[in-house]
Every structure is written in C-alpha cells, then in structure tokens.
C-alpha cells in the first residue's frame, strides 16, 4: 500500500495530464449516449463544487441548492425565449440572476445557523419551485419551457460536451483559486469555529452571505449549462429531490476534499444510470448508498482514498476524535 501511495504521489502530474487527455478525447472513443452522460456528470460536478463552498468549506448545510440552480437554468431559458436575447447574454445573465437571488435568499438564511439555516434554505428552494410551477405566463408552469432557441452548434453532442468541459473547467479552476485564497482560508475558519471568527474581527454573517452568493453564482452557471445541454427547462430543476442529488454527490465524493463532488458526480450519475436500467428500485439503492456512506465512509470516496494513500499519517478531517459532529 505504501509503495502504491508513493507511486501515486510521484506521478500526480502525469495522472492529471492523462485525465485531461481522456476528457478531451472522450467524444472520439465513446458512443453519443455516453458523451451525453459525461456532459451531465460535468454539470453536476460543477453544481456539487458550488454547493461544497458552503457545505464543506464554510460548514453551512444547505438543503436548497436546486432552487438557485433552477434560477440559472430558467434565466437562460427565459432570456432566450421571451426576450430573444443573444446566446452570450443568456449565458452571462444566468450567474448574475442566480447571484441576485442568492443575495436575497442568503440574506434571510444566514440570520439563523445549523438546522434552522438548513430549513430556511429548503423553504426558499420550495418557494422558488412554487413560483416556477405556478407562474404559467412567464415560466411555462409544469409544462416547463421546451424547444429553447439554443444555437444549432450545440445540437451536436460533442460540441456541447466541449463547451461544457471548457466552462466547467474554468469555473472549477476559479473555485479552486478562491478556496486557496485568504478568503477561502477564512471560510474554513468559519466552518471550524464560527463564533471565534468574530473575535478576530471577521464580520461572520457577511462572510457567510458571501459564501452563499458565491455558491449561488456557480450553481447558476451549472443550471444554465444544463439548459443549453437539454434545450428545455422544467420545474423539477428546483425541486428538493434535485437538491438531494447535489447533497449526495458531495457526500459520496467527500465534502472535505475539493475534488470530492467531482468524483461524487461521476460515481453517482454512473450508478444511477446503471442501476436505474436494471431495476425500478433505484431509490431503494440510493437510500442504501446514503446509509452506507454516512455510517461507514463519512469522508466519502476521496476522503477514504486520501486516508489510504496519503503518505503522511495525518488523520483525515472528520475521522478523528476531534472531528465530524456537526
């Protein structure tokens, strides 16, 4: 195991390059349906990373990321269909509008912490869902919006895939940069001990709101990408079930690792497709997976692997006696 760990670490760069090459040649080696699946994985990976800014890095458990994801998706859809705006505007509008929605929702939510915060986020996402569901004239209600005028370029799945890959890649790099910054470090301090940060002159609520808005902006990007990918939007995007998907993706991959949600998205979507094809009881298996994760692999797949393969004998966060119980 030790030798394997060392080999893994010394070949890190090579592994990353191999992964990048794999992502780039994917449309040439896989069938269209699998490329389409990969596209979905990328989008959910971004949504997971966006949620994880709050969840894993600031310690704010949100049950409502889907609401803001849907704001992004509907922003692009409505800008294109109702306002006939250019594609670029429709894309850029999504994170901006999701960010504005994040400011409003977050302003209320950060007033409370822990369970109450989580319940508020759930409540707001249901409010967003209801607005989408009921406002027929504007959002199409339960019919959603279909045949959105996406540029024809994206009808070819490989084009769409490369576009998604580029946007998700840029966003993930940006999020990575933010996590490594003094701001990112400050968010982690807030996760560890929110009360203490106030006594090192950090205005806690303002920083929590900033994390909320940041997360909303990138959720908006993910939503917008999904709108481009599928060419249609539905109220389901805002539903709490969608939020659960995002939470499970973070949990599955491990939310104390930056790459956790990315790995989580890959495994989760693959599993859901494979299992859903074999049986009608996908939800049963999903439940079983969540139970297993929470009981036996609290740090997720990446956390588990990092534990096994890490050359340093430093206990992973949350696994030691100091950790976890949030």
């Amino acid at each position: 195991m030790k030798g394997l760990a060392r080999a893994f670490h010394s070949h890190r760069l090579a592994l990353r390059l191999a992964l990048l090459v794999l992502l780039l040649i994917l449309p040439f080696i896989l069938k269209e349906s699998w490329v389409s699946l990969a596209n979905e994985m990328l989008i959910m990976a971004l949504a997971g990373c966006a949620l994880n800014i709050m969840l894993g890095y600031t310690g704010m458990v949100s049950f409502g990321p889907a609401g803001l994801y849907a704001v992004g998706a509907y922003a692009t859809a409505i800008l294109l269909t109702r306002y006939h705006s250019s594609f670029i505007i429709a894309l850029i509008g999504a994170p901006i509008l999701a960010g504005i929605a994040g400011v409003i929702v977050g302003w209320f939510c950060v007033r409370r912490s822990a369970t109450y915060f989580a319940l508020l986020t759930l409540a707001f996402s249901q409010i967003i869902w209801t607005i989408i569901f009921e406002w027929y004239d504007f959002t199409g209600g339960d019919n959603g919006i279909v045949s959105i005028p996406i540029p024809e370029f994206f009808f070819t799945i490989s084009h769409c895939y490369y576009f998604t890959l580029a946007v998700v890649g840029a966003c993930v790099l940006l999020l990575w940069t933010i996590i490594q910054s003094p701001f990112g470090k400050t968010l982690q301090a807030i996760r560890e001990n929110p009360g203490r940060t106030e006594f090192i002159a950090i205005p806690l609520k303002r920083y929590q709101l900033a994390a909320f808005v940041l997360s909303s902006v990138f959720l908006g990007v993910a939503g917008s990408l999904y709108c481009v990918f599928s060419g249609s939007v539905f109220p389901d995007y805002a539903h709490w079930v969608k939020s659960t998907d995002m939470l499970v993706i973070c949990l599955l991959g491990g939310f104390y690792n930056f790459t956790g949600p990315i790995v989580g998205s890959f495994v989760y979507i693959l599993l859901s497709k494979i299992i859903a094809k074999q049986t009608m009881f996908w939800m049963f298996f999903l439940g079983a997976i969540i139970v297993f994760l929470v009981l036996f692999m609290r740090n997720g797949i990446v956390g588990f692997l990092a534990d096994k393969f890490s050359p340093v004998t430093d206990p992973a966060p949350g696994s030691g006696k100091d950790g976890g119980g949030r």
Binding site: T177, I178, Q180, S181, P182, F183, G184, K185, T186, Q188, A189, E192, N193, G195, R196, T197, E198, F199, I200, A201, I202, P203, L204, Y207, D314, P315, P317, G318, G320, D322, G323
Partner: protein, 252 residues
C-alpha cells in the same frame, strides 16, 4: 486610560451577574480579575467584547464609546481575547489558525485570488514563535496538547494586533510547570508588544506573581481593588475566599 466602564449591569433572569461595575484600566497595565466561581468574571469579559448585550452602562475604549458594538467591530478596534474553554479552529493546522487571524489584521480576508500559502508567512511564523509553537506549525490545532492549544489560542488573539488583551483563565487545566511557562510568556508578550492585559485567573501564584493591579469580583460587584499586597491583606477578600474556597490561599 485605555479602558473604562461605567456602571455595567447584566442580569440573567433574576440573577445579576454583573452589578454596577466600574473598571479603570491604565495603558500598559497588567490587571487581573479574581473572584469565586460564578462571580461574573467571564460575563464581564463577554460584555467588554460585545459577546453579550449590556442591560445598562457604558464601555469606553481608548476614548471611544464602544457600547453595543458587535464583537467583530470591537475586535477590529483593538480588543483581543482568549477563552476559558478552548476556542481554536481544530481541523486547521496551527499555522493556518494564526494565519487566518493575521489575514484579518492585514485586511486581506477579502482577497479571493491570491494564494494564501504565499502570504503573511513571516508574520504568522513570528507569532507562532512568540507563543512557542513554531516547531508544531503543521499540526492540526485539535491534535495539539492542551497546553499548546492554550498557547495557540493566545497566538490567534495576538495575531489581530490588539492593544488590549483579555485572557480568560490562560493557565486553566495546566500543570504547575506549564502554568509557570505561560506566566513567563504573558509577561514577555506584554513587555515586547506594549500590550495592556486583563486576565481572569484562579491560580493565585500566577495572579500575585504578575499582576500590577487586582480586582476582586464577588456576586457581580467589585468589592476591592489594589496591588497584590493590599489584596492579600484585605480581610473582606480573605473572608470571601475562606468562606467559599477554603484553600484558595494556602494550597495555590
């Protein structure tokens, strides 16, 4: 005068935890607050740092009225504190624990795009060095020994560059040797950084060893204040301690 309080009052239900307290702390002073358990010492600290709202009274810090300001604003103005119960960032390394506070002091916390690991290294290491934790900078805060966590907490408080530092039982839970080390550390820091210090402490060796001035709090009121010798010889103080903590003088 660096800190002055005027008629501070705080009650919880029927209990008046802090009752008409008037503190006057001179710049550069090393003041301690003693008193039996439940005398209101920690509550008093919580009032000074904005952690709890006052019922009435005013807090003046460096000539400015800071009554009712939130903790982060008071902290920004130069009042730092450490806590009675350990209060660090357990899963961040000792280095990161201090660095986050240094970022705040340097007003860098809002910087989203620079690499934290390349910033404020020297300042952070200097603080870790001054509290004697430089060789443990990579260890997660929560995995440090109790005494080291206390040192780390002091490091976090110092990193914000306070003018006035409030320490709530800095030697709590320490062996006599550790406690003596911390005492020396406190004296050194006060001298080096020109700090004013107020500390709450149960260990009378520490209190009498380093205080310029001692305030005795009993049932929310300051019943006596003076130099260590005066406090030692005061009958009322003795009675309170002999009454409620029989061996406070003799065994400590």
């Amino acid at each position: 005068m660096i800190l002055e309080t005027q008629n501070l009052v705080k009650s919880f239900g029927g209990l008046t935890a802090v009752d008409d307290v008037n503190l006057r702390i001179q710049e550069g002073e090393l003041a301690s607050i003693i008193g039996p358990n439940g005398a209101g010492k920690t509550t008093l600290f919580n009032l000074l740092t904005g952690h709890l709202p006052l019922d009435s009274g005013r807090v003046i810090f460096q000539g400015r009225d800071i009554t009712g300001l939130p903790p982060h604003a008071i902290s920004r103005m130069g009042i730092g504190r450490s806590f009675q119960r350990l209060n660090i960032f357990p899963r961040l390394s000792a280095f990161d624990n201090v660095q986050v506070a240094v970022f705040s002091a340097q007003r860098q916390s809002r910087n989203l795009f620079s690499r934290a690991s390349k910033l404020a290294r020297r300042e952070t290491e200097a603080i870790l060095d001054s509290v004697g934790l430089l060789d443990k900078k990579g260890v997660k805060g929560g995995l440090l020994a109790h005494g080291d966590q206390k040192r780390l907490e002091m490091g976090i408080a110092l990193a914000v560059e306070p003018n006035l530092l409030l320490l709530d039982e800095p030697t709590q839970g320490m062996s006599p040797r550790e406690s003596a080390e911390i005492t020396r550390l406190i004296q050194k820091l006060v001298k080096e950084k020109g700090l004013t210090l107020i500390f709450v402490e149960h260990d009378m060796n520490v209190v009498f060893g380093i205080s310029d001035n001692i305030k005795v709090l009993h049932q929310g009121r300051i019943i006596f204040e003076g130099k260590p010798e005066e406090v030692k010889n005061n009958e009322e103080v003795q009675r309170i301690y002999l009454g409620e903590e029989k061996d406070a003088w003799s065994s400590r």
